[in-house]
Amino acid sequence: MITRVSFVGIAVNDIEEAQRLYTEVFGLKPWDQGVVEMPGVKVVMFPLDDCSIELLQPTVGPEDPVAGNLARWLEKRGEGLCRLGLWVDNMEEEVKRLKESGVRVIESGEYGKIGEELGAKMAFIHPKSTLGVLIELDQQM
């Protein structure tokens, strides 16, 4: 079951500059670890009560087969809202339900490993199945 919205992701070209905007102009407080480097992407989260804000800057080009989707997004649409994170209570059940109803779920490969490192089970729903929104599913482990 999908239980909550976990975050809204924003694609940016310069994460340091974007972080300044969200702290100095909007008055949001980033998580303690600051900008974090992950495979193919730099990330900073601004935790809010129910749904956090996540800034994402690609560190690989659009040609990268695993993490190039963010760079491709920026190239095509420019900076802006790019991703929606949802919490699920049971990933296996949810992925099964979605697949059975014809939704295209991406659950394998590098993403799985990143999720494990972060202590979460992770899967994505392809924007082709969501009218243009990349949806990330997370289950806390």
Binding site: M1, I2, T3, R4, V5, V8, I10, V12, A18, L21, E24, V25, F26, G27, L28, L48, D49, D50, C51, I53, R77, G78, E79, G80, L81, C82, R83, L84, L86, W87, R97, L98, S101, V103, I125, P127, S129, T130, L131, G132, V133, I135
Partner: protein, 132 residues
């Protein structure tokens, strides 16, 4: 001060089709559907925990939402933050150099609302809403 995310809005070219997809995907039925004539949109709300996912379809071809859809295609359209006092927030954001679409709060679906210009927010259309 920003308190929380109130809703995330997704623009679709056909609301019925969009609802079918999202109700199936989220496993949750829409709570209500409304037409907002002054914004030229039809909107449906799906409540996910404490945050709403709003689907919007432009019904007037010269609305800002219709132009967005034409230029960028379907996808996330805007994010709405809940604030205590919209007018006070607008004043302080303007003083920090943010371009405003609405200089003053006005009535919208989420309460007393105002939009900030994406030029000032790294391409993100931001709505502020004060609950009434």
């Amino acid at each position: 001060m920003i308190k929380r995310v109130d809703h995330v809005s997704i623009v679709v070219s056909n609301l019925d089709e969009g609802l079918k997809i999202y109700e199936n995907l989220l496993g949750i039925k829409a709570s209500h559907i409304e037409t907002v004539a002054d914004q030229g949109i039809k909107a449906a709300m799906i409540v996910v925990g404490d945050v709403e996912i709003e689907l919007i379809e432009p019904i007037s071809p010269d609305s800002a939402v219709a132009k967005f859809l034409e230029k960028k295609g379907e996808g996330v359209h805007h994010i709405c933050f809940e604030v205590d006092d919209v007018d006070k927030e607008l004043e302080s954001l303007a003083a920090r150099g943010v371009n405003l679409i609405d200089k003053q709060g006005r009535k919208g679906l989420a309460g007393k609302i105002a939009f900030l210009h994406p030029r000032s927010t790294k391409g993100v259309l931001v709505e502020l809403a004060q609950k009434l």
